[in-house]
Symmetry: C2
Subunit: 223 residues, 2 copies
């Protein structure tokens, strides 16, 4: 695994700051897809560690994921996924040609700015308004708002079996991660057969199994 890089650190051994049941799963899967051996550090939301001084020194915006290569810290899922892909070119996780690459980035940008945001209104309404009755109004709308996003993905973006057809890219672990929340967001996978089939297909990947095993162990340890 070689890449022209501005990194002095060992490319194959990043530290990934991770929390179970968050979008940080996408970056963990991508690390394994890339053949990396990440050290996974849990940021416990139950203990509000994301708000603590130690984690804010890593990411002052108090969100996961963050990935660290030596002294370099990179945050935000779309940026981390692209970085992983670029550092591991032989894994071919993203097209090299600019337009094809831009289309992958556009998909991931849609996930972070639209689908993930629609989902977040279910648990994190306090970011955007005050008052329980208003937060409840927000939660009521989540199934509809999330449904609009999956319909767009199903009918306009998703080629199948992977997001970009036969080629696995960094769009896939990101969609898989978010689509795991579909039922709890009030959307039925039956309405989105391509997205549902994608979730099953992803479940067969070694990288996904590795990442889910780490998440499951963390959740078990936290009980």
């Amino acid at each position: 695994m070689k890449a022209a890089s501005d990194l002095t650190a060992d490319i194959e051994r990043p530290i990934l700051y991770f929390a179970p049941d968050t979008c940080s799963l996408a970056s963990l899967i991508a690390c394994y897809d890339a053949g990396m051996e990440p050290t996974v550090k849990e940021v416990s939301f139950a203990r509000d560690e994301q708000l603590g001084k130690a984690y804010r020194a890593i990411n002052p915006s108090a969100k996961v994921p963050a990935i660290v290569f030596g002294k370099d810290i990179v945050v935000e899922t779309p940026a981390i996924l692209m970085l992983i892909a670029q550092l591991a070119p032989t894994a071919e996780l993203v097209p090299v040609a600019p337009v094809a690459q831009a289309k992958v980035q556009a998909f991931n940008s849609y996930l972070c700015s639209t689908l993930h945001v629609a989902h977040a209104h279910r648990m994190r309404g306090y970011r955007w308004l005050d008052g329980e009755e208003h937060e409840e109004a927000m939660r009521q709308k989540v199934p509809e708002a999330v449904d609009v996003c999956y319909a767009h993905i199903e009918h306009h973006l998703m080629q199948g079996p992977f997001v970009f057809g036969e080629s696995y890219t960094i769009a896939d672990p990101y969609l898989f991660t978010i689509s795991r929340w579909m039922e709890s967001d009030g959307c039925g996978p039956d309405d989105f057969p391509k997205v549902a089939a994608h979730r099953r297909l992803m479940g067969e990947r070694t990288s996904v199994a590795q990442a889910l095993a780490i998440e499951a162990k963390m959740m078990a340890d936290n009980v």
Copy 2:
């Protein structure tokens, strides 16, 4: 302006689908920064053209911007900005080294998924809930939610004078575009001196003047 590309179309003459007073301004500025001569097509929000069949054939999610090179359509601001930068390498709008490039992408990802979203709750609350009293609660919170984002940018992300120090990148037209809405979002530029200075500095650029002239003419024609 040459780049290894999967494009057959003329790289210097894209079509940009644009609406005044939206984030599509960032892509227009970047086109000029890259030495492109875009054909700017207005998508009139006043006439709901973004929802019409013709524009949905360009972008089914009914949002601007979209950029078209020949038969290739790319949407989502962070993806468009990176594509423009990659197609015009001599303009040096983004670092080539992976980590430095990822940090630019992380900044733009923060803008699209957090700052722009916080702003959008002022006018587009209907996306996330139903009921005027709840939308009003959302609008009430906008100054606080947007303020949190600018504080993060001012104190943690912004190097100054440009976002990434002395080097102009595709982070700059995006921040400039969104920060124009600061006052109407209820935030004072006095609280964010680096962001305010950035806005003034950007106002001196030829590319920004070119883009603003096109936007101004469009707005005048619409009166």
